[in-house]
Every structure is written in structure tokens, then in C-alpha cells.
């Protein structure tokens, strides 16, 4: 028996959230008196980066070197992971929560008869049973649930676990899965993806703009501060509804949920549906010209003032830090 960790790749690199999953998986394996095996699908990652997963706690890395898996084809990923789970004799699968892993783990739960917990924020408790704590009500509460089936799947919430780079590289083995054409029945015809930019869901620092910025032509102040801090950019729902910014930047209840170390909200009023997407941030800064803006109640630091005067000052100060 071992613990299997599904590792996602973006832009040729292991995703930060997947490193968290590997570190978490190694801890769960320790609790269970076993080791963690990482599995990586596709050919868009270099061999040394696979071995480096060992430093974060993987005892072994399985690589499914099939270029047809370079895109996240849901049904094919389910096939591969189900076969790997069974062949390695795993009882627990760990993934980082993402739009891909949500879709894949749901099917795996049925196929493997596995209890599935998503948005998990802590290590399992194994005192008489197996329970995990997860975030519910879009960040407004936590719930403890018991995973009673023999097989279990845990989807870890972003930033819930800090991986440490300590061990040494792990051996990499090729894993061949048997896949049929039916697994590729859903055809990906095109992908439009930003490259070379920080992913909002993965970023440690986020600068986000709301309707208070008045129009897309004013986004320079946001982008400049984000660049100076090396942060990703986000926005409120009306901003993406109005097409000022692309939809994948929309943060909140109906958009992306983020959990960065720092979330800077500029010209966003702080409606409860927006707060739902940012409440897991470690530190929140609010910049708003209205001292009564509800966002200040959820903030750690606040500045009441005009974004167009304040942001350039912050950008200059951030540049000096470097």
C-alpha cells in the first residue's frame, strides 16, 4: 500500500499547488506507515523536474510519457489514474484542488468506490477512524467529515499546506497505461492560454481591481503594481462582465477562489459574493476612496483614497524593495 499523489504541470513546470499536494501526501503516508508515490501525465515536463518531486517528499515518481496527455483530457486522466491506483496498491489518492482535478476525482470516486473530500484544509485525523476538515459555504465555514470507505481521495485546498524542499531527488519510473480511442472521445479543438504570466489560482500575491477603476484603459496602475510585486492580477465580477478583463481573472463566489499570502483589492466595494472568493487570503489590503466600503471590515490594512494617486506610490515603494 502507498499513497498516490496526482501532480499537475503548467507551462512545463510542476504547479505550486501540486508541490503542496506532494508534501501533504508524504505526511499522510507517514501517518499510514507507508510512502508517497507521485504520478505525472504528459511529456511537457523535463526529467530533472520529475525527479525533483523527491525533494518535497515523493519516494518515487511515475511518469506517463504520452503526449496525448499534455492537455487535461478528463476521461483519459481518469483511466490512467485508476490504473495507477490499482497497480500501486494505493488506498489514498491526494490531489491539489483545481478545475481539472475536480472533474477527474469525481469520476474516480465512483470507479474506485472511494470516499472523496474536496477543499481539505488540514492533515487527516486518524484517532479511531479517518476524518478531514474541509472548507464549506465558500469560505464561510469548515466542516469535519469522515471518510469511511477503504479507498479515499483527498483534494487539498490551495495554501493549506506548506511543502518543504528537504529530501533528495526520487527515482522516476515510466508507467504505461492502456488507453483506448473512447477515452479521447471528447476532442480538444483549440486552447487559448496565457503563457509566461502568473496563474491567478497559483499566485502567492494578487492585485485585483474593481469597477472603481472606471474602465479598461485605466488598468495600467494595477498591472504596474502587480509587476513590481511579482503578483498575478484579478478583478471583480462586473469588471469581467463588462469585458474590461478576461473572465479567468474574475474572483469571488461565482469566479475563481484564491488563497494567496497577499490580496490587494483596489476600487472593489467588498460585496459578500466577492469576499467569499478571497476570505482564505493570509493578508488583505483594501484601497478604496469610500471609508464606508464594506471591504475594510475584512481587511488587515486599508488606505482610504483615490486609487490613481495611491497605486503609483505603492508601485514606486515596491520597486525600491528589489
Amino acid at each position: 500500500m502507498s499513497v498516490l499523489v496526482f501532480v499537475e504541470v503548467a507551462d512545463g513546470e510542476v504547479k505550486g499547488s501540486s508541490l503542496e499536494a506532494v508534501g501533504y501526501g508524504a505526511e499522510v503516508a507517514k501517518q499510514q506507515g507507508t510512502t508517497a508515490t507521485a504520478i505525472v501525465l504528459g511529456t511537457s515536463i523535463a526529467a530533472d523536474k520529475l525527479a525533483a518531486l523527491g525533494k518535497y517528499g515523493a519516494a518515487k515518481v511515475l511518469h506517463v510519457a504520452d503526449e496525448k496527455l499534455n492537455n487535461g483530457v478528463i476521461q483519459a486522466y481518469v483511466q490512467v489514474l485508476a490504473q495507477a491506483f490499482e497497480q500501486t496498491g494505493a488506498k489514498i489518492l491526494i490531489v491539489a484542488k483545481s478545475s481539472l482535478s475536480d472533474a477527474v476525482t469525481a469520476r474516480l470516486s465512483v470507479r474506485l468506490k472511494a470516499s472523496l473530500a474536496s477543499n481539505v484544509t488540514d492533515l487527516p485525523s486518524t484517532n479511531g477512524g479517518f476524518t478531514v476538515k474541509k472548507s464549506v459555504f465558500t469560505g464561510k465555514a469548515f466542516q469535519t467529515i469522515s471518510l469511511a470507505n477503504e479507498n479515499k481521495i483527498i483534494a487539498l485546498k490551495k495554501s493549506a499546506f506548506s511543502p518543504v524542499d528537504s529530501g533528495s531527488p526520487a527515482p522516476v519510473e515510466t508507467f504505461s497505461a492502456s488507453l483506448s480511442d473512447a477515452d479521447f472521445g471528447v476532442k480538444i479543438t483549440k486552447t487559448d492560454k496565457i503563457t509566461g504570466e502568473l496563474l491567478l489560482t497559483e499566485a502567492d500575491l494578487v492585485v485585483s481591481g474593481g469597477r472603481g477603476l472606471k474602465g479598461p484603459e485605466n488598468w495600467g496602475v494595477i498591472l504596474d503594481l502587480a509587476k513590481a510585486l511579482n503578483a498575478a492580477t484579478g478583478c471583480s465580477k462586473p469588471v469581467s462582465d463588462l469585458d474590461w478583463r478576461p473572465h479567468h481573472e474574475h474572483v469571488g463566489q461565482t469566479g475563481v477562489k484564491v488563497a494567496p499570502n497577499l490580496y490587494v483589492a483596489v476600487g472593489i466595494s467588498g460585496a459578500i459574493q466577492h469576499l467569499a472568493g478571497v476570505s482564505s487570503s493570509k493578508c488583505i489590503v483594501v484601497i478604496n476612496k469610500d471609508p464606508e466600503a464594506p471591504f475594510f471590515k475584512a481587511a488587515d490594512y486599508g488606505i482610504v483614497g483615490d486609487a490613481f494617486e495611491i497605486l503609483p506610490k505603492l508601485t514606486a515603494a515596491a520597486q525600491k524593495l528589489k
Binding site: 470507479r111 459555504f137 491567478l200 488587515d300
Partner: protein, 245 residues
Amino acid sequence: MKILVCITHVPDTTSKINFVEGNSKLDTTNMQFIIGPYDDYALARGVELRDALGGTLTVLNVGTAETEPTLRKALAIGADDAIRIDAEPTDAFFVSEQIAEVAKKHNYDLILMGRESSDYNGGQVHGMVGEMLGIPSLSPVMKLDIEGSTAKMAREIEGGKEYLEANLPLVLGVQEPIAEWKIPNMKGIMTARKKPLEVIQPANPTQYTQPQQYELPAAKGACKMIAPEEAEKLIELLKTEAKVL
């Protein structure tokens, strides 16, 4: 075209969340319930497709009698009929099995629902139903058109979009901007009262997880205000005090 839209009955997004009975139950006193915001997008797109292509749209909820006003609202928005599976929706596996049982009898071309519910945020039911029925499932789908027996879709991926094509039948978890939310009009509300709402008993009640206890997050400390003329001080505080830079 036979479409099934699965909806959740969830607290309004502005609700304050509290628990009762030793933190084992949600406090629903004075709470307003709505169609899950993502499910509302599924319903809106379902109605548009039914209107464009003909056929029927059935709306389904797994829930106790108190969810009927939510189902009636979906009927007012444009569903032709409703099914309520009379059970507490205890976990994603249980709910999925109920949906799959109904779907096996009716052979829907398209099963739509929100990418996740706004209460338990599992994002699991579409995938589980797809697996139980042995048909593909995709999520989060933000664009959906039907041409003959092919669905043309866009799915949000981190940092962008992926365009996909697949043959029906399919199970899709959807999100905006797939359609605009629809508000029921007077005629819709009147006709909804007469539309059929079938109540059926749950089959094979199996659960894969067992809920135990809730807790609320720790209260947030006070917000430290910085004068606008000293804005640059913020960067220093973020580095030395908050230690996030």
C-alpha cells in the same frame, strides 16, 4: 432534445452562516434559499437550447419538501416539468446516485448543472453522474452550442480557455458566461403552478462520506489604516509586520 437540469437549493449568497445543535446543523432561521447561482446558469442555457431546438427540459432537485418553491421558480423560468427526489442530500455520491437512477429511465441527451453548489462547494456531482451513466462529463463549461448530435463547448482552464467537441449524451457542470440569469415573468409564475412536479422516493441510499461537525473561521482582527499621504509605508508594513513580501 431531452434536457435535464439539476439544481441545488442553497442559502442566498448574502446569508450569514451559523450553526446550531452543537455545531452539527446549519442555522436556517430567517434564511432565504435560492437556486444555486451556477445551477441558475445551467437552467438559463437549458431554456435557451430547448427554445431553439425544441424538446423538453426537466428540472430536478434532491431535497425535502421545503425545496419545492425553488423547483417552482425553475418551472417559472421555463422548465417544462420537475422531479423532486424526496431525501436530504447527504453527500455528493448519494445525490449523484439519485440523479443517475432517474437519468437511466429517461435517456436525456444533455444533463446540465452548476460547476459546484455554493453550500458544500464539492464540484463532484457532474463527474459522478457521468461515471455512473458511462458517458463523458466536463466542467467548468462556459460556452455551449449544439449542432446536430454534437456539443461545441468552451471550458475554463487556469489562465484561459479550451474549446471542445463531443457527441451527446453528456453531463456538464457549467458556469458563467454560458448565459444570463433569467428572471421569471408573470406569465411564467402563473403557468408554473400548473406544471407537473413529480415526487419520487430515493433508491439505494448509499453515502461515501459522513458529515460530523461544523466550525466558523476565527474572527478577523481590526483593519490597520494608513494615511493616503504615507501610502508607501504600507509596503514596509507588508514586509516587516505582515511578512508577506
